[in-house]
């Protein structure tokens, strides 16, 4: 899951502890969550419901939904959230990715 990241932070910010699928991870406090996960070496944010293939952030502006993760039981766009201590991030089982219409 965690590999050496290919993204670099220009300035290193103080870290806080969060969990990703139950595993501890230290991310910069207050940072954009999607950016922080990329810097931490996380590349797959979810799998697609149709073919179970991996996806990661694509637009970083809240329009593509490829960065969806589950927080407090709700599917949220990681690129529209900020890191705070204690955040429990769960990578969604593919079937729970919401649809606009059914």
């Amino acid at each position: 899951m965690k590999t050496a990241s290919t993204f670099r932070e220009l300035t290193r910010e103080p870290r806080v502890e969060v969990t990703l699928d139950g595993e501890k991870l230290c991310l910069p406090d207050g940072a954009n969550l999607a950016a922080a996960l990329l810097v931490a070496g996380v590349t797959t944010f979810r799998k697609t419901p149709v073919s179970d293939t991996p996806r990661g952030p694509f637009c970083m502006m809240g329009t593509c939904f490829d960065c969806l993760v589950e927080i407090d039981g709700v599917a949220r766009q990681a690129c529209m959230l900020n890191v705070r201590a204690g955040l429990a991030i769960i990578r969604l089982p593919d079937a729970q990715v919401p649809n606009a219409e059914t």
Binding site: T6, E9, L10, R55, M60, C64, L68, M80, V97, P98
Partner: protein, 464 residues
């Protein structure tokens, strides 16, 4: 909150300029943006970021603080982190802020929701590690995060801008794989005389190209058959250049071949749109003041048609003048007197547009992708699927939904809509206007039941 005269959706250059102009003329303005700080895409988070990374991002970025400063006005309420998910007749604007739903009522609405990256469906574009160039910029602007082993793919000045911003941040891109051709450059030359009126843009462009050359970043122009491969993550980009196949390994791909208007909110109100051939996108039908065919709804900035940040600012101001006149704050004469210097500045701003649009057209192979290429990222529908539906009698995007769910995923067609229209139009021989676009229904962004339950319904506080 007191009922505002004007509700603006989007605090980019268009929305911010409109808010200030309207407030100066005595209108009460409420401006909502889902971002936690004002600035829009170009000036994203500029108040916080300009002091720390202003140098790498450049003067065209830090200029944004001049606009954000002007939001501090007694007549302006700026609601940050407020995602608008429905606009209904009346006008009632529903939004979510801090996990709570709320509504606000106003007689005039300005949609200044900006642009989206033009979808660039090429093989492999859904792999993790493939992002839009705009996403690369957002990472750098907002988060100070830069990709270290990245390749830039596509065409247009924004590609050169991010290359230069990456250079200044100390992470040169590995290569620029550009899709515009020599023929495009030659075709653009006839627009050069007009473009010279907007010469500062051309000078900036030449400076960016010089910086890229000095840094030794290879540029491959006129490339074709571009594809991306990798198993769980991008590993390489492949392309044809001067008759030869080339591959470049990388960890990140930033792709860009123009931006297109974000029309979701306007579409949800049923506002008429038409196909803009030069921009290869739908734009809303508006009068010279940005007024739509839905009385009381105005649109300005890139969501009204792509013109860039300065144009967005100018149109935002013009819209505010018109609304001030409609609400009795200005006479028609006063409105026109204030508008005329802005209108003159617009012709300079737009001078370089035809040159740039012709020199950097969208990548043709991504407008009508090969059969196996995924075009709907959410529901994983391919270009071949759409062609097949058309052969079975599908004549428009809404029918395509019934055939195979394209456009029915969480992005609501934002990244497949234009491709679906183009593919169907090509197959049927109909125009894009006849082919049409997805019907967009609220919610524009997913809302949870909890957010609706926590809704604080503002009643109309009109004065007795």
């Amino acid at each position: 909150m007191q009922k505002p005269d004007l509700v603006i959706v989007g605090a980019g250059p268009a929305g911010m300029a409109a808010a200030n102009q309207a407030a100066e003329l005595g209108l009460k303005v409420c401006i909502l943006d889902e971002q936690s700080n004002p600035g829009g895409q170009i000036y994203r988070d500029v108040d916080r970021v300009a002091p720390i990374r202003g140098d790498a991002l450049g003067a065209d970025y830090t200029y944004g603080t001049r606009l954000t400063d002007k939001l501090h006005h007694a007549n302006i309420v700026h609601m940050s982190g407020a995602t608008v998910w429905a606009i209904e007749k009346g006008f009632c604007v529903s939004y979510t802020q801090n996990g709570r739903g709320a509504q606000i009522i106003a007689d005039h609405i300005l949609l200044a929701t900006g642009a989206l990256e033009r979808p660039m469906p090429i093989p492999g574009w859904t792999l993790p590690g493939v992002m839009t160039a705009g996403a690369g910029q957002i990472l750098l602007k907002q988060s100070g995060v830069v990709a270290q082993n990245a390749v830039l793919v596509g065409s247009g000045p924004l590609l050169y801008l991010i290359a230069c911003q990456m250079l200044r941040a100390g992470s040169a891109p590995k290569a620029l794989i550009e899709t515009q051709t020599g023929a495009d450059t030659r075709a653009a030359l006839r627009h050069l005389p007009r473009a010279l009126q907007g010469w500062p843009y051309l000078v900036k462009g030449l400076k960016m190209l010089a910086a890229i050359r000095r840094a030794g970043v290879p540029r491959y122009q006129g490339t074709a058959s571009v594809s991306i491969t990798g198993t769980d993550h991008v590993e390489a980009v492949h392309f044809m250049h001067k008759g030869r196949t080339k591959s470049i390994s990388c960890d990140t791909v930033f792709m860009h071949h123009g931006v297109v208007p974000n029309t979701q909110a306007a579409r949800s109100l049923g506002i008429a749109h038409h196909w803009h051939n030069a921009q290869q996108a739908f734009v809303p039908k508006l009068d010279e003041w940005g007024h739509s065919d839905f009385a009381g709804v105005f649109i300005a900035g890139d969501s009204a048609g792509i013109g860039g940040a300065k144009t967005a600012e100018a149109y935002g101001k013009l819209t505010a003048l018109k609304i001030a006149e409609m609400t009795g704050r200005l006479t028609v004469g006063e409105r026109d007197r204030k508008a005329s210097p802005i209108q003159r500045s617009l012709s300079h701003e737009l001078a370089a547009r035809p040159f740039l649009d012709t020199a950097y057209p969208p990548f043709n192979a991504a407008l009508t992708p090969s059969d196996n290429t995924l075009i709907c990222r959410c529901e994983e529908v391919t270009a071949g699927d759409i062609r097949r539906y058309t052969k079975l009698g599908c004549t428009g995007p809404n029918q395509a939904k019934a055939f195979g769910r394209a456009g029915m995923g969480p992005c609501q067609g934002r990244y497949c809509g234009l491709t679906v229209t183009t593919l169907i139009a090509k197959e049927t021989g109909q125009s894009p206007d006849t082919t049409g676009y997805y019907r967009i229904r609220p919610p524009l962004k997913p809302v949870t039941l909890g957010e609706i339950a926590a809704m604080d319904i503002t009643t109309d506080e009109s004065p007795q």
